[in-house]
């Protein structure tokens, strides 16, 4: 059952250790209520995160080179996408992406790097995959 396996993968990631976003209050409530019943809530965050063109540009740039500092991301967005957002605004966009599970951060020494995580997108693909039925609501 491809849908079942995709859902399990998604659920297994939903612990504070493996999934930083689960540390937020909203996600903790969500985890408490058991993953099954609230899968929809989390996916709303993913769709919301993807709805913003700046956040999609961030994902594009991380897809080109994974593991970037905030400085590099801002430089890319300014020069390649003509975006004039402040560093603080980009940082907030990154927080939204991280809460949705689309970006993860890694601290290495005194530096922080951002990584693309497409796992939530697999849930979307599974949901509308033709001829395999639907398990999500």
């Amino acid at each position: 059952m491809p849908n079942e396996s995709a859902k399990r993968t998604w659920q297994e990631r939903r612990t504070p250790e493996e999934f930083p976003a689960a540390r937020s209050a909203k996600a903790c409530v969500w985890v408490d209520r058991q993953v099954n019943t609230c899968l929809y809530c989390s996916m709303s965050d993913v769709y919301k995160a993807l709805a913003d063109p700046t956040r999609r540009a961030i994902l594009d740039e991380l897809n080109e080179r994974d593991g970037q500092t905030l400085f590099e991301l801002c430089a890319r967005l300014t020069t390649k996408h003509g975006l004039s957002s402040s560093r603080q605004a980009i940082s907030q966009h990154l927080d939204v992406l991280e809460s949705a599970g689309l970006v993860s951060t890694r601290r290495q020494g005194r530096y922080k790097f951002h990584h693309l995580d497409t796992t939530p997108l697999e849930t979307i693909v599974e949901r509308w995959r033709p001829a395999r039925g639907r398990s999500n609501t």
Binding site: Q68, L70, E72, A75, R76, R110, Y111
Partner: protein, 127 residues
């Protein structure tokens, strides 16, 4: 008015002098005892009468939080010009220098960012 000196804030002047000369290739210009610290500057061998870089102690209480905040976001403290970013990246990496941004071309400008081992990130650029 002219700019004759600029500075990087370093944890240890002697360690900084070794990195900025032995690894980066600058040469010592001035070394004058000043109380606990030294007026310690280096210059580029390609421009020995040019702007000096002061290796300034980061002992002020505000200096380290400032440096840590910049470094966490990958922001370089200053920027040096090179003829070939990729060649310099390979040379420095071969010497064990850690890069937080590998060479990146954006709108005709190529940059890279490395750790100076003294608590700062430094950008190299070829415009």
């Amino acid at each position: 008015m002219r700019i004759y000196v600029t500075s990087v804030l370093v944890e240890d002047q002697e360690k900084a002098l070794r990195f900025y000369t032995d690894v980066l290739g600058f040469v010592k210009k001035n070394d004058i005892p000043l109380g606990e610290a030294r007026w310690l500057t280096v210059v580029s061998p390609e421009d020995s009468e040019g702007t000096e870089l002061l290796l300034e102690p980061d002992s002020h209480p505000a200096a380290r939080p400032f440096k840590e905040a910049l470094a966490a976001d990958g922001i370089p403290l200053t920027s040096f010009a090179v003829d070939d970013v990729a060649a310099e990246f390979n040379r420095l990496r071969g010497l064990g220098v850690q890069f937080t941004q590998e060479p990146l071309e954006m709108g005709g400008v190529t940059t890279a960012v490395f750790d100076d081992t003294c608590g700062n990130l430094i950008q190299i650029v070829k415009a």
